[in-house]
């Protein structure tokens, strides 16, 4: 499964994207990212580690997880995930 990092998350992961085995859902993916890059801990998960942090945007196949099933959104090897800190412009 392809995971793409944007903005400052690229510096943490030290890459633009990586292939990872697909966990069963988004929450598990975030746990896996924190395990692989401890700097993500405290950034992408909330304090209780039950949901994503407020300042994180996660897209699964281009759709915000808020408009899917949140962190319970299921993942498969074919899915494509983008994870970025909240950014803006205009």
């Amino acid at each position: 499964m392809l995971v793409k990092f944007l903005a400052t998350y690229r510096q943490i992961a030290n890459c633009k994207s990586c292939d990872m085995p697909a966990p069963s859902n988004v929450l598990e993916l975030m746990e896996a990212l924190c395990a692989r890059w401890p700097e993500f801990d405290g950034l992408i998960l909330n304090d209780e580690r039950t949901d994503k942090g407020d300042d994180v945007i996660i897209l699964v196949n281009g759709r915000h997880i808020e408009h899917l099933n949140g962190v319970a959104t299921p993942l498969t090897e074919q899915d494509y995930v983008v994870i970025t800190p909240l950014v803006a412009g205009g």
Partner: protein, 603 residues
């Protein structure tokens, strides 16, 4: 003599035909009702100018207006507005700019300047506190923005300069007015109006200050708002670190980055080459802020080791990065930076220019524009042709003159007006209304034609600020857009930067405004002024003969071929009905006499 309410209390009225300079008291009732800057400038304009006026005729007026917070300690309060009827669109054209010019004008003792008539030779206005004079601009005429600014600084010392380049002199339809070299009152052709008056520049130096009504309360509100801005990830360090170009990847990933004039959908596998992340690695020198701004989103950039492209300047912002990037199918970041430098150096709107080049590329590839008209091949992705055409447009040479008409007139000339990605003849910016429904509604209803900063629906639809709306659905978009439009009109009119609204909202904007002007109005009463401004603009546009609220047929009928929003078109009619209802207008989108009376919109 300043007033103790954020205002100086004085307007300069310059009649260029007569060469006369008058100082008159600020209309405080209108300042109360229409806040300042965009709202107040538009009110002055509506009071004084026939909506049917030819924008480039001597009888048109050009108004520079600050807000009550401009030049104060309020957050990001360096903004001013230029108001006139826009030559590109034929409707109201209020263009906002930052930098330091607006505050300097107030420190010199003036809330705004109204230019009337037309000088019989090129002139510029020099303001040194009380001394105001029209001087000969013969030697400046023919100079670019940077040369003009440097010449005026050399002559008058520490002045802040707002001026036009050579496209403005030629009344090119989307010439910008530039201040502090690289900050732009960019859209709609305010620079053309300035050029039509033979007015090259304003150079101002001010040594006074601005006094607010309730200094303690004002500082309390500022401290609260500044803390919120500092703690918010976007306004705290996101915009300062990456600038606005950081949006490229996220907008592309939701499938909303219009590719090759929107012909090829809105997902691009090369988007990252043009991203804020990549710009930082390749061209960024440092970030930079406007007056009183802790966000500091500006990009100081340079190009080195690229031969003819080499240069130094600012930007691009996200919109220009897109118009010269994805819209033209060009992924060479140096060429994008260069094309934007040319726009800044000569004062041209890069959104319209890049989009017009993109439109020409599509027309060329389909055989509608013969190569002999252009003089060289103009395929999507041809970075060198894009930069060359931008320079030709700046110089008014060959096919560059046609590019200078904007995409609508270009596409119409070659028999395909439907391929202009514009609304009311102004080009839409960098988000596809098929993938992001609410931004399509925003383009269709914007009071100055295709524009993203009249009600930035990307905030809720893509970024989730302040609420998370699904970009692909239509529900709730009409009412949300109405609120965003009103709040934006209010924010623009105070003299604060719209980007503060990523981190603060109505309570903080209204709080700073209230303490500055000494008002006891509620937040809702203050927001109502934003609605009043919106309805005033709409009323002017109706009388000017505005086209109906719609989108290019591509967005309404050509389904996206790929990406996360594959198969989608913009569902405009559904959202328009909700929007007009939220505005309490007729089902045809016309403000009722009752609505205008309720808001006291009169002139």
């Amino acid at each position: 003599m300043t007033q103790a309410n954020g205002w100086i209390g004085t307007i300069l009225r310059i009649n260029l035909t007569e060469g006369s300079i008058k100082k008159e008291p600020l209309n405080m009732q209108d300042a109360h009702d229409y806040v300042g800057a965009r709202g107040l400038g538009t009110k002055y304009y509506c009071n004084e100018v026939d909506p049917k006026i030819d924008p480039l005729s001597p009888d048109n007026k050009l108004i520079f207006m600050t807000g009550p917070l401009t030049g104060t300690a309020a957050c990001s309060s360096g903004r001013y507005e230029v108001v006139s009827k826009a030559p590109l669109t034929g409707i109201i054209g209020a263009a906002n700019s930052g930098g330091h010019f607006g505050p300097e004008l107030k420190y010199a003792g003036y809330d705004g300047i109204i230019f009337e008539g037309k000088a019989d030779h090129p002139v510029y206005l020099h303001i040194d506190d009380d001394k105001v004079e029209l001087l000969d601009a013969g030697e400046l005429w023919g100079q670019g923005v940077h040369e003009t600014t440097e010449a005026l600084e050399a002559k008058h010392g520490k002045v802040r300069v707002s001026c036009i380049g050579t496209p403005g002199e030629r009344c090119m339809l989307y010439a910008a007015i530039m201040n502090d070299k690289n900050r732009a009152a960019g859209r709609g052709g305010m620079g053309a109006v300035m050029g039509s008056k033979n007015l090259k520049a304003i150079a101002v130096r001010g040594t006074g200050g601005v006094t607010v009504a309730r200094p303690e309360g004002f500082m309390r509100e500022i401290t609260k708002a500044r803390t919120m801005l500092k703690e918010h990830p976007v306004t705290g360090n996101g915009l300062g670190t990456f600038g606005t170009e950081i949006l490229v990847n996220i907008v592309n990933e939701v499938g909303g980055l219009p590719l090759r004039n929107g012909r090829d959908g809105s997902y691009w596998d090369k988007a990252d080459d043009t991203s804020g992340e990549h710009l930082n690695e390749t061209h960024l020198v440092k970030n930079q802020g406007c007056f009183g701004c802790s966000i500091a989103c500006g990009r100081v950039t340079k190009i080195e080791g690229k031969g003819d492209l080499d240069g130094f300047g600012e930007g691009p912002e996200y919109e220009a990065g897109w118009s010269y990037g994805a819209a033209c199918g060009v992924n060479d970041i140096s060429s994008i930076v260069k094309a934007n430098f040319i726009c800044n150096e000569q004062g041209m709107d890069p959104i319209t220019l890049g989009s017009t080049v993109a439109c020409a590329m599509e027309l060329y590839e389909m055989g509608a524009i013969p190569e002999e008209d252009i003089g060289f091949p103009l395929r999507f992705g041809d970075a060198a042709a894009m930069v060359k055409l931008t320079q030709m447009c700046a110089d008014g040479e060959g096919f560059g003159k046609i590019i200078g008409l904007g995409s609508y007139r270009l596409a119409e000339k070659y028999g395909h007006p439907e391929l202009s990605m514009s609304v009311k003849k102004q080009e839409m910016p960098a988000y596809d209304g098929r993938a992001i429904q609410g931004i399509g509604l925003e383009y269709a209803t914007s009071n100055r034609g295709g524009c993203h900063v009249r009600g930035y629906m990307i905030s809720p639809e893509v970024l989730g600020i302040p609420v998370k709306l699904d970009p692909q659905v239509t529900e709730g978009k009409g009412a949300m857009l109405k609120t965003f439009q009103d709040l934006t009109a209010l924010c623009d009119s105070t003299g604060m930067c719209l980007f503060t609204t990523f981190g603060i909202g109505l309570p903080e904007i209204a709080g700073q405004y209230r303490e500055a002007v000494g008002s006891d109005e509620t937040d809702e009463e203050i927001l109502l002024k934003g609605e009043r401004i919106w309805n005033l603009e709409k009323r002017f546009n109706m009388e000017a003969g505005v086209e109906k609220d719609t989108l290019p047929p591509r967005l309404l009928r050509e389904a996206l071929p790929s990406g996360p929003a594959k198969g989608k078109v913009n569902e405009l009619q559904t959202m328009l009905a909700d929007y007009y209802e939220a505005r309490n207008w007729t089902a045809d989108g016309i403000p009722t006499p009752e609505k205008l009376a309720e808001l006291n919109v009169t002139y």
